[in-house]
Amino acid sequence: MAEYTIKVRRFQPESGEGPYWEQFNVDLDPSLSVLDGLLQAKDNEDGSLAVRCSCRAAICGSCGMKVNGQSTLGCKTQIGEAQEQADKMVGATGVSAAVADSPIRGEGADLGSAGNPIVIEPMGNMPVIKDLITDMESTHWTKIRRVTPWLLPHGEPPEREYIVDPESMIDITQSMACIQCGACVSSCLSMEADPGFIGPAALAKAYRFVGDPRDAETQERLHDLAEDPHGIYDCTHCFSCIDACPKGVAPMDQIMRLRRRAGEEGIEDPNSGHDHEIAFVKIIEKKGTLDESLLLQESFAPGVKGKLKPNRRAIREMIGSIPIAIRGIKTGKMRSLHKLIPGVHPKLPDQDDVKAIFKHAEEHNEEFNLYIKGEEGELAEEDVEKGIERSAEPAGQEADSGQ
């Protein structure tokens, strides 16, 4: 047993007052969870402390919360580890994760314990209903429904079940592992800047159907997600959802798969997402390193030197970037020609070698999914000696029933 101070961000709308921090001292084994700590405080000190939970085993997805600023499940975070993290951050930065300037209540503040308080907050990017309970309807469930999260097969349904090759379902097992806890939504840095962003949970769910061989509206789904200004090209690639997800779904990786699939389908989106990707790839094929001026020009107005047919948005964006270029010229940042004029950037000395790599990769275009294949050496040595091959089963959770 060990003593911990948990510092909880609380809010009761009926009180008419703003949110505040309350500290509780709890006493439990370090291997127990942050949720166990909260429930102890609720049992012993304040029965009104509101937290949503059910299975306590990272299956039901009810207890999404922020622990020391990190979005996670309360039941999957050991309180001993949370204490180490709190001590580390306070030691390095001099402040705890509780930067929000709210009053502190509660006896825990005076009692004190060995370490720094473990900071517990409701999930981010969602309205708070009470204490740690958030309203998941507005930013989670609405967005899940937004991506049409059910199968859209064409033709008469078969007499019995749809029969598919098991191999063809492996690709979507990772996105199927989602338990709808909302931790990724809570952590999403794009949604923080643009609340309209469809978001990591819903887009991972979208891939679950885009990748499903039984679905017949893949094209329509991809068009929809690529053309929406708050769709797949609004993800800022920050990896927050990957670290937040308790089930290894890696929502950002699923968003990148959606982009890849949209690209393969040749979908030209009005956000210049596809144009940006193609421009980047072509420049590296031609030059080996990045020509930033050419990337800007080609992202907005592809083929401008040849065909000259940039769209209206492209023209607006190009004009918008003129002040940036002028400032750059003034400070000397872009004074040399090869930085300023698209296409003048020098080639790598052995660019033919780089081109050969493009040729090889385009022929194969293999995707190596670690979630599915796992790492070599994860098998026990005796299995390797016996010649047991790694199975094609997913290394993570078992697949759900495809809901």
């Binding site: 690209g263 400070t331 796992g374 070599e376």
Partner: protein
């Protein structure tokens, strides 16, 4: 350890030789002052910055395997100066290291060039950002000994860049759990004052600047604004792409968040260089968009005090 000479295969990346030339220059200067020998990989290619992996994962893995193989040819571990290079390359390296059959398949594409990427043994060949190298290999005590102009009185906000802090399991946090507090450690070692603010480990917004400009600039503007409100004199970043959004785009970001900004953003080698006594001009600070004059004034008054 203290007198051990460090020599690395150096991958400067694209942007340090493009839109942020001051990074490349300041790194060369600081390496010389610290006694770190850089063997530049001038034939290596772009890391793909996550964009090539989004297009064709095998292509990104092969391009980076080529860079790793070029580094391994020198017999040295590799150093980069860009969080995005670190993240994109670590991602490819993780896949290459996971499976010998996949590695052999990728190496097949390099065989015509006489190159091959070999998985390093535990503690063997590594690819580290300058920030990691500085703390883990050079050492903070040794760095402190080199400081001739402590950054006393300078209030510095760290800005990491997503690719160097997440995902934790890919970026070696199991071996080096403190990698997300190294900037604070370096600021402290140089005698500066740490400014903690909300955005230190958040996203600068750069990856969507061409696709979702408002989302992008709102991120940059919010973090710069938060740092100013927390009392920062400047930010420091180990990522030139973050620098583009936080510095070059700062006047545009100010319009989106509708407030005055004007906060200097330093590259990590520039901050180190200042403490080692280098002149702001030789560190290329005049090339920044957000003026660095205030930082220079703080430093001179700090020395006088």
């Amino acid at each position: 350890m203290a007198s051990e000479k460090i020599k690395v295969a150096y991958w400067p990346g694209c942007v340090s030789r493009g839109f942020t030339p001051e990074l490349h220059g300041s790194m060369a200067l600081v390496a010389q002052k610290l006694g770190i020998e850089l063997v530049e990989l001038d034939r290596a290619n772009c890391c793909g910055a996550g964009v090539i992996a989004e297009h064709n994962q095998e292509l990104a893995d092969t391009l980076n395997a080529r860079t790793f193989a070029l580094a391994q040819q020198t017999g040295l571990s590799m150093m980069n100066i860009c969080s995005t290079c670190q993240g994109a390359q670590s991602e490819c390296q993780q896949r290459l290291d996971a499976d010998s059959a996949y590695r052999a398949h990728v190496n097949e594409a390099l065989s015509g060039q006489g190159l091959s990427y070999e998985k390093g043994e535990e503690g063997g060949w590594t690819n580290k950002n300058f920030l990691w190298l500085l703390v883990e290999d050079y050492g903070l005590d040794r760095l402190k000994e080199q400081v001739v102009r402590p950054l006393s009185g300078l209030r510095v906000g760290p800005f990491y860049g997503c690719y160097i802090v997440r995902p934790k399991e890919r970026l070696g946090y199991n071996h080096y759990p403190d990698r997300d507090i190294y900037l604070e450690k370096v600021i402290e070692a140089l005698g500066g004052q740490i400014v903690e603010y909300d955005g230190a480990r958040k996203c600068c917004g750069f990856p969507v600047i061409t696709m979702s400009r408002e989302t992008s600039l709102r991120q940059a503007g919010t973090h710069v604004g938060d740092a100013i409100d927390a009392g920062a004199d400047c930010l420091v970043t180990p990522c030139p792409l973050c620098h583009l959004n936080l510095d070059m785009q700062q006047p545009e970001a100010a319009k989106v968040v509708n407030r005055d900004l004007g906060l200097a953003v330093l590259h990590l080698p520039q901050l180190v260089g200042l403490a080692l006594g280098a002149d702001p001009k030789e560190l290329g600070m005049a090339k920044h968009i957000a003026s660095t004059r205030w930082v220079e004034e703080r430093l001179t008054s700090g020395v006088a005090a």
